[in-house]
Amino acid sequence: MSQKTVDRLFLGLIYMLVVLLVREWLLPITELTGTGHITLFVIFVALCFAFPLFGAPWWVSGPAKLIYAVWFVAHAHMDGPATPVASVSFFLSDLVRNAGLLVTGELGRITDPFRTVLFLALLWMASYLIQYWINLKMSVLIFYGMTVIFITVLDTFSPYSADAAILRILVIGFLLLGLTFLAKLADNQRKRPGLPAFLLMTIPLLVLVTAAGAVSQFLPKSDPAWPDPVPFIKSFAEGAGDGLGRGAGKIGYGEDDTMLGGPFVGDDTVVFEATAERGQYWKVETKDTYTSRGWIHSSEEQELLPVGEERPIDEPLLAGTTRGEDTATLSMQLDFEFIVRPYGSTIPEGPEGTDFLQEAGTGKVIPFVNNAPAVLDAYSVAYEEPAYSLTALRNTAPDTLPEGEFAQYLQLPDGLPQRVHDLSLEITGREETLYGKARAVEQYFRQNGFVYDQANVASPGAGEDFADHFLFETKRGYCDHFSTSMVVLLRSAGVPARWVKGFNEGEEIGRNDAGRQFEVTNNNAHSWVEAYMPGVGWMPFEPTIGFDGAGGIDYDLDLEEMTEEETQEMDEAAKPEQAEKEKTPAASKGEGFWKSLGGRIAENSRAIYIGLAVLAAAALAAFLLRDKWLPRVMVARFRKRELDREGFERSYGRLLGRLRRYGLPKEDGKTLSAYAREVDAHFGGSDMRRLTEAYESVVYGGRDTVLHEQAVRESWENLINRTTG
């Protein structure tokens, strides 16, 4: 077999793979746009590659392609039999009609046959371009890269599923890269490889890539850390997102809690601004039924009860005091058909004609205008922040719990693994009161290696229990994980508990006469726990690491009765409260700043990571492309530099560094003049010798000035500029 045939065979193989790669472009286009006849398009592309491969002159290949195009258009779009004459006349009349449309700019009315023609022309140009790359540079990397980007973008943003396409592209692409690399190697040899050598090079490559692709299919794959970036990008693009409806992986307040888990994307869209005397948790509703995967409420139909003077939103505490009355004023940025409220809420107040009704089960308060649920832009809620009586809490022995009343808050799914019960017993077994048990569970998460993380959170597999998965498998998650697990543990220990949804206090953004102003964003969406303490009422607990609890304690113990341990405990617990009272505004602001900074960093970790990644990518790109810009910077600096001995030494050193980067390193044992000859031999000219001679007279000859400074400067710049290329 002649050398020419072998070369052609090799090129033919490469072209074949390229055609397959082009097919990967056509597949999603036909699928997404409803274009038909993919096989015919692929054949056309194959023709575009085949003609040059067999050395057909343009006057053969051109008409052949044209005939094919005419036949294609007629076959695809013409009714009736596609006789040659009919086809051509159809083609021509269509062409004339659309040429007119093109001239008048009525692009919308262009007919399908003409679109086909344009598309074929595009394919023809694309294949010409690819051939040009291959023939001239033996490089398909650009085309391959574009293919990968095209397919991945389509996979991400369009309904097209590229699972199989990715694998095909992988195999085709690596084969192509490998073959073109071989071709490049062969080009450098004087004797081109014959058929046996060609086979010897190609077959192992084929086997290797195919095997790697096949094996990759069977390897276990970890779930993507960021399954779907689209909502995130959308929220960036649209500014304030809709907030309602927890989109895939986006943080925010949502109604549907049946499937908890999965990673989150931060979102600092503002939900509302609140003015109140204290920062506090904003409650929306509670849920009582745990399904192993999430939360629902036991009764689908909620009884609606009016709230107002006669019936405050939150029942008054059975034991304990309050921290004084206050009214929180809220200004909503997102449309919620419910209100958010502090603990101890009494009476809400909206615009004229607003009635507030509360769902009996969930506690959600819904504003009604004209007997229909309404969205309020602004409202206020009067509240008295509760302080729970420690004395009463210490008397919450399990037997004080009224029997039967709290069945729905002790519910647990049947399939809950035994080890959860065991763990619950282990944590709470030694505590005698319900309060002690609740605190023990709350503390458990802080001491046993649990990690707060929104991003790297695995979802439980099918059939696994959400809380069990978190407690024993991952120990990594966010508020939903901690709060759900705590409720499960409490219920297992016989403490009535429910799951609470709302927002945490948000970020303090200022202060006015009415109180402190807080900005609450989607990032502040939160969940926590309420447990029922007999003789006290429902009391919030905060198991999530990094959040400090809702619910203050009234230390109303009789001090003489207290043990030393208890006093200590009380002191510790009381400290933050005291500190808060004593704080000057400035200090509180400062502390608030750091606290909110820490909070912001935690909440916006995704954005920060992305920012850092972008910065790192930019730095990396700048570093990788330094050959392009660094010499220019160096020349600019060199022009300003005085060419005394020190300056000359530095500049010459820089040049040596650049030349090393360029691929002309100076060997240690080589003298400068020998090196200069080598460099000049590479670039042509005598710049390096001229420069080096001047440099030698400075370094070895002990001169302090540079002779022929202008010439030396020119030589230096010439050389530096050459290292750019």
Binding site: E649, Y652, K666, D668, G669, T671, G701
Partner: protein, 316 residues
Amino acid sequence: MEEHGKLLKVIENIEQVMIGKREVAELSVVALLAGGHVLLEDVPGVGKTMMVRALARSVGADFKRIQFTPDLLPSDVIGVSIYHPKEMEFRFRPGPIMGNIVLADEINRTSPKTQSALLEGMEEASVTVDGRTLALPDPFFVMATQNPIEHEGTYPLPEAQLDRFLLKVKMGYPGREDEVEVLRRAEKQPPIERIEPVITLDELRDIRTRAAEVSVDDTVKGYIVDLAESTRKSPDIRLGVSPRGSIALMRSARALAFLKGRDYVLPDDVQHLAPYVFSHRMILQPEVRYEGIDAEELVERIVMRTKVPVRRAGTR
């Protein structure tokens, strides 16, 4: 530089009789300028005598030749006092060492005693006869030849004495083209007769002083020391180059720089001369010698590996 041109002319003269051996000619002039002596290691008949005579004629110097034989006595080299019957006294008859340029042929054929008579003269630039010290003429330049050690009936020069020579040069056979040219010229009048003196001895002395003024920057001195140091550290070398060797390298590098028309020494000069200066001042490990690696090759390897300073000493 006028002197520089004249020196080049000297080299050209030598080249006329020694075709294709510019390197050797250059090295000889370097040694002459540096006030050192040359040891030529080679087989007989490659034109060593011719070269030395050409050099002597070019500088208008007095040329002497000593053919060393096993029975040669020290007095045959230095000279001897002979009783003069008429004047009733001993008169000193100077030996062949009393010349400006001395060719000491086959120095390793004679006994160590006679060898050392010559070598001492070279070192001291004077000889002692009958208690009187006689200064040798200035300039005094010895070019000694020795047969390759392996030849029969030779007394190898002791290592300690070898470093009396500034350079050790191997001449080798001429290339094919060059040898054809040698034959062509041998048909005509011997070229040596046509060589005219280029400089006088006085001029030569003057040039030597000027050559000694060529500056050697500390950077280059450091480089020389690095090279010497490397020979001491090399596992292939049992005894490395002494500080005297470093000094010799510096001196000869000065002369080469001057010959090239420069008033400062470059690392290039040092690199070029290092094999000639160092190779006879080291003792190789026996196993290296068995492998057939010679000292010149080792020095070249060391030169390749030692970092050439590219910044002035003291600046970083």
